[in-house]
């Protein structure tokens, strides 16, 4: 089953239609990426194959997305210079600068 041309974005679905929003540019760790405007930042990162959202201070353990509803704090990142932003519920905007904190 796993696909040859794997695309994290679902194009065809038996029940759902994903209306395409505006494609916007954003930066992750200084590099350019694209995502859809107003989707949660976490979705845009995962759609670009980025799963490690931060690295813990002491033990250097990698952390990613977990709850998607702003409860677990596993996805805290630095967004436009502001630390501790929950990227699972914060919406993507054109030109955003996203970093691991």
């Amino acid at each position: 089953m796993p696909k040859e041309n794997y695309n994290p974005r679902i194009e065809i679905h038996p029940i759902l239609n994903f209306e395409k929003k505006k494609l916007v540019k954003f930066y992750f760790e200084g590099k350019e990426y694209y995502g859809y405007e107003d989707e949660p930042i976490a979705c845009a990162l995962i759609a670009n194959g980025i799963k490690v959202f931060h690295i813990t201070k002491e033990k250097k353990r990698k952390r990613g997305f977990f709850c998607a509803i702003g409860r677990c704090s596993s996805c805290l990142m630095k967004v436009d210079g502001k630390k501790n932003v929950m990227v699972c519920i914060t919406r993507l905007k054109e030109g955003m600068k996203i970093e691991r904190q």
Binding site: P2, H13, L16, G64, C67, A68
Partner: protein, 367 residues
């Protein structure tokens, strides 16, 4: 701060199925109500649910969760006596004389709502599970994956291990197949599947292995999940040595239950009881869904984990009670409440409600 302070008669926190039904009920009885939710949309968990609902027409049977959320959105818009605040998160709750004070962060600004009656319908959050490397990116909540896949059309990976065979585990596993994602297996620590047979059968037909008496030992991977080790468990649910099996998956979904989101209730020292059958700590409430604090009501998952249909009826009952508190009891309100209680009773007749009924009995007895 001052300019942002408002006073309301009835306020509801949480616009999931429970809070929405409460608001509509109050409005239809002729009351005024403020409904707040931290999301930019209404519907709570419904927006990510793509399976068809069962039950009666009043409970939207045959429709899918996200379609029901759309109907709710319209119904709220139609009623001018429902005031809706979105992007508004209740972060604090205080009691002052007989008033309740909600600290609300709306569009990143703090505001104060003073309200006579409050309905808390904040829902639940997903449980975590203890195993080696459970913090590795790629270990996701099943509901979180449902959000990614169904709400935003993003695949978290190509191949999944689902941990837990309750309804959420089974439903989300099926939804992953619909999104063209492989489900390597669904594992369940208990000797039998805990979700409904319909959901189980759908997966079985698609050839997904459903392994009961199995648990996860660890996640494997350097930067992100590359696999998982599972094993069989004995009658005491302890791993059996020598039965370990490695699965190659790039994400692991945890569907191991929900916990009521009771934070606001703890802040005001409401009476909470530990009842595992209802999902952990739940607020004590009486037959009107009023908590130990007069004028504060609860409904939906925050008062005990169940499902959307029961959450809606609880919302209606809590809504009627809140209305009566402000505008007074009438024959009509009392009759409606009795009718709703009967509906709820009927919904809980099935074998799947056994656990809930045990939990509710404990709640009633106050331990």
């Amino acid at each position: 701060m001052k300019g942002n302070d408002i006073e309301r008669k009835i306020t509801i926190i949480g616009a999931g199925p429970a809070g929405l039904k409460a608001a509509i009920t109050i409005a239809d009885l002729g009351g005024e109500v403020l409904l707040v939710d931290e999301n930019p949309y209404v519907g709570g968990q419904l927006v990510k649910q793509t399976h068809k609902f069962f039950g009666s027409k009043e409970l939207y049977c045959g429709l899918r969760g996200f379609e029901i959320a759309k109907i709710f959105e319209e119904e709220i818009k139609k009623r001018s006596n429902i005031e809706l605040f979105l992007n508004a998160c209740a972060v604090g709750l205080y009691l002052e004389n007989n008033k309740k004070i909600v600290a609300l962060v709306k569009n990143e600004k703090l505001m104060k709502i003073t309200t006579d009656v409050l309905i808390i319908a904040t829902g639940a959050y997903e449980n975590f599970l203890l195993f080696e490397n459970n913090d590795l990116p790629g270990v996701y909540g099943a509901g979180a994956v449902q959000t990614l896949v169904n709400q935003y059309g993003v695949r978290p990976g190509k191949s999944c291990l689902m941990v837990g065979s309750g309804n959420i585990g089974l439903i989300v596993a099926y939804q992953l197949l619909q999104a063209d994602i492989e489900v390597k297996a669904v594992i369940e620590i208990l000797p039998k599947v805990t979700g409904w047979y319909v959901h189980y059968a759908k997966l079985k037909r698609c050839g997904v292995p459903i392994l009961t008496s199995h648990t996860i030992l660890k996640a494997i991977g350097k930067d992100e999940v590359e696999g998982a080790v599972i094993c069989k468990v004995n009658r005491n649910l302890k791993p059996i040595k020598g039965t370990e099996k490695r699965l190659k998956v790039d994400f692991i979904c945890l569907a191991v239950g929900l916990t009521p989101f009771t934070d606001l209730l703890w802040q005001i020292n409401a009476k909470l009881l530990y009842i595992p059958e209802l999902g952990g700590f739940v607020p004590y409430y009486d037959e009107n869904y009023e908590t130990s604090i007069p004028g504060i009501f609860v409904c939906g998952d925050v008062s005990g984990i169940e499902e959307a249909s029961t959450a809606m009826i609880e919302g209606e009952i809590a809504g009627i009670s809140a209305y009566e508190k402000i505008y007074g009891k009438r024959k009509e309100t009392e009759a409606l409440k009795e009718k709703k209680k009967k509906e709820l009773f009927a919904l809980r007749k099935g074998p799947h409600s056994k656990k809930i009924l045990i939990g509710l009995k404990k709640l009633k007895n106050g331990y």
